[in-house]
């Protein structure tokens, strides 16, 4: 669950009965989790993220919602250190992933990113074949044997339900797939590096309703093995698939908690206004 840290214990021991999804709440405090302490992010002189304190429970779907420009994507990027590429971004605070503060000196950025599978807003297949797209990650991370690569590619293409569709043409360019298929390919590509966390940055916003549904179903399947963190600005999607919701506004976390509770019984005035659609 995504809860300010100080409340974490209470929520951890309180198995949310009204949540109809199975959330392994007890495991929240063990190693495989993301903990964020006093995170502040500045881009040039702008204060983008303000005092973020959050713990994200493992093997569940956490949706980050909020109006455009509230810092959702910036937040997601702090989790796999993609801000390293833009020097004008300053990050203060701690982000613990598996009990390791990834902003500590000497932390290997490649290892950090390897733990995080990122699914971007628009699918962006690599300029190579379908097969090579999935094989790319394992190859750069040292898997050389052809057999092992074949196995990985087939396994993950099957996992995302793409294998039957592309079976006969895995050697053709990935760009020839439909956009929904490309997004699933990108997911398979991300899974092939064997991450522990899946980050989705409005991963369905460029897709048609049918492809969106397939991706959403995949997310639900993914949470059996991975911790999934999604940024979305469709409330309905958050309601459909999330176990936990984090509501952000102007760089602050306004409210967070289990989905049912968040939607049915929001505690803050701002949340109620947002949910009722008075701003978006």
């Amino acid at each position: 669950m995504i809860i300010p840290n100080q409340q974490l214990e209470t929520l951890t021991v309180n198995p949310a009965k009204e949540i109809n999804r199975t959330a392994p709440l007890k495991k929240v405090m063990n190693n495989h989790t993301i903990r964020i302490e006093n995170l502040n992010v500045y881009i040039e002189d702008q204060h983008i993220l303000k005092d973020i304190n959050l713990a994200i429970p493992e093997k569940s779907i956490t949706c980050i919602i909020g109006p455009s420009g509230c810092g959702k994507t910036t937040f997601l990027k702090t989790l796999n250190r993609m801000h390293d590429e833009t020097p004008e971004v300053k990050i203060k605070g701690k982000v613990y992933i598996d009990d390791l503060n990834i902003y500590e000196k000497g932390v290997n950025v490649i290892d950090t990113r390897k733990k995080m599978g990122l699914l971007a807003q628009r699918p962006c297949p690599l300029p190579m074949s379908i097969f090579d797209n999935v094989a790319y990650g394992p190859r750069i991370h040292g898997t050389k044997r052809r057999k092992a690569i074949n196995h990985i590619v087939i396994q993950y293409l099957q996992y995302v339900g793409l294998w039957d569709e592309v079976r006969g043409r895995v050697r053709s360019p990935a760009s020839r797939l439909s956009i929904g298929q490309q997004q699933r390919l990108c997911l398979a590509r991300g899974l092939a590096i064997e991450p522990e966390y899946i980050l989705g940055d409005e991963a369905t916003s460029s897709l048609d309703p049918l492809s969106t549904k397939i991706i959403e179903e995949l997310f639900i399947k993914l949470k059996e093995k991975y911790t999934v963190i999604l940024v979305t600005h469709t409330l309905r999607q958050a309601r459909r698939i999330a176990d936990y919701i984090v509501f952000m506004y102007l760089g602050k976390i306004i409210e967070s908690g289990p989905t049912e509770e968040f939607f049915n019984n929001p505690k803050k005035q701002l949340t109620r206004e947002y949910l009722s659609g008075s701003f978006s």
């Binding site: 590429e85 599978g117 990122l118 690599l126 750069i140 360019p173 590096i193």
Partner: protein, 279 residues
């Protein structure tokens, strides 16, 4: 009045288009009209014989070979320098880096330097290094001439690349080098365009090779020998008082044009072959 303006402007635009087409047709028409009768098989298969410049037997194979050698050599050198430089300023340095701005500005200046200055500089450099007038000297000097244009055009296409692909690669845990390798594949068509532009400038330039590659009636067999080039061959032949030789100059111009066309088409063919998997 409104419609009158519209009409006038339309006439100016169409006029401009007609002038450009006219110039093209006139140039091609002239070289073909004067050159085709002299364009014999001998022209492209034989080196000049004793009295070639007085209208006797021979061809310009020496110049064809020299031009092709020089352009291939200088393309190789400038690619080896251009690709790392462009990748560095685009992917390794931050977006608003002072250093990359300095580099881009220097490239603009280098681009504006006239080719005769490169020729003079190349010659001075050769004297300093103790290289004689040779194929090697020509290759180095032409490489200096075409490098700025190659870098600049490669830089332009690289900057147009969206952030998505680099981000996707980095988030998969690629190092910058691994990322660059994939991006280069994506940039292949742009790279080909850069090569073509550079080649077009390099192969047709006379001033750079005048002092540095020299001129000879033989096909150079090593980097240390002087090499003839087509632009100089055209220059020498057109300067002859003998009409037959002048027409051979036009024939040489046809050969040069056709070589450039062949190289461009083959470059395009290969680029489409290599980038089959591009987005």
């Amino acid at each position: 009045m409104k419609y009158f303006e519209e009409k006038i402007f339309k006439i100016i635009m169409i006029g401009a288009a007609v002038i450009i087409l006219g110039v093209l047709v006139y140039i091609i028409g002239t070289i073909f009209y004067k050159g085709v009768p002299s364009l014999t098989w001998d022209m492209i298969t034989k080196v000049p014989s004793g009295g070639f410049y007085l209208g006797k037997e021979g061809g310009v194979l020496n110049a064809i070979a020299g031009s092709v050698f020089i352009i291939i050599g200088s393309l190789a050198i400038s690619l080896l320098i251009s690709i790392p430089l462009v990748m560095y300023i685009n992917f390794y340095l931050p977006k608003k880096s002072l250093f990359s701005n300095v580099i881009r500005f220097s490239l603009d200046i280098l681009f504006g330097v006239p080719s005769i200055v490169y020729g003079a500089f190349g010659f001075a450099l050769m004297v300093y290094l103790g290289i004689k007038v040779s194929l090697m000297g020509g290759i180095i000097t032409v490489a200096m001439l075409i490098m700025p244009i190659m870098m600049r055009s490669l830089d332009e296409v690289t900057r147009l690349l969206s952030r998505e692909l680099p981000d996707a690669l980095l988030s998969l845990g690629s190092t910058k080098y691994e990322m660059t390798k994939v991006l280069l594949r994506q940039l292949m068509p742009g790279l080909m365009t850069a090569i073509l532009l550079a080649m077009g400038r390099g192969i047709g330039d006379a001033a750079t090779v005048l002092f540095t590659a020299g001129y000879t009636d033989n096909i150079p067999s090593s980097l240390g020998q002087p090499a003839a080039t087509l632009p100089l061959a055209i220059f020498f032949q057109l300067g002859s008082p003998v009409e037959e030789v002048q027409n051979r100059g036009y024939a040489s111009a046809i050969i040069l044009t056709v070589i450039i066309l062949i190289l461009s088409f083959s470059a395009r063919y290969f680029s489409s072959k290599f980038s089959k998997n591009k987005i």
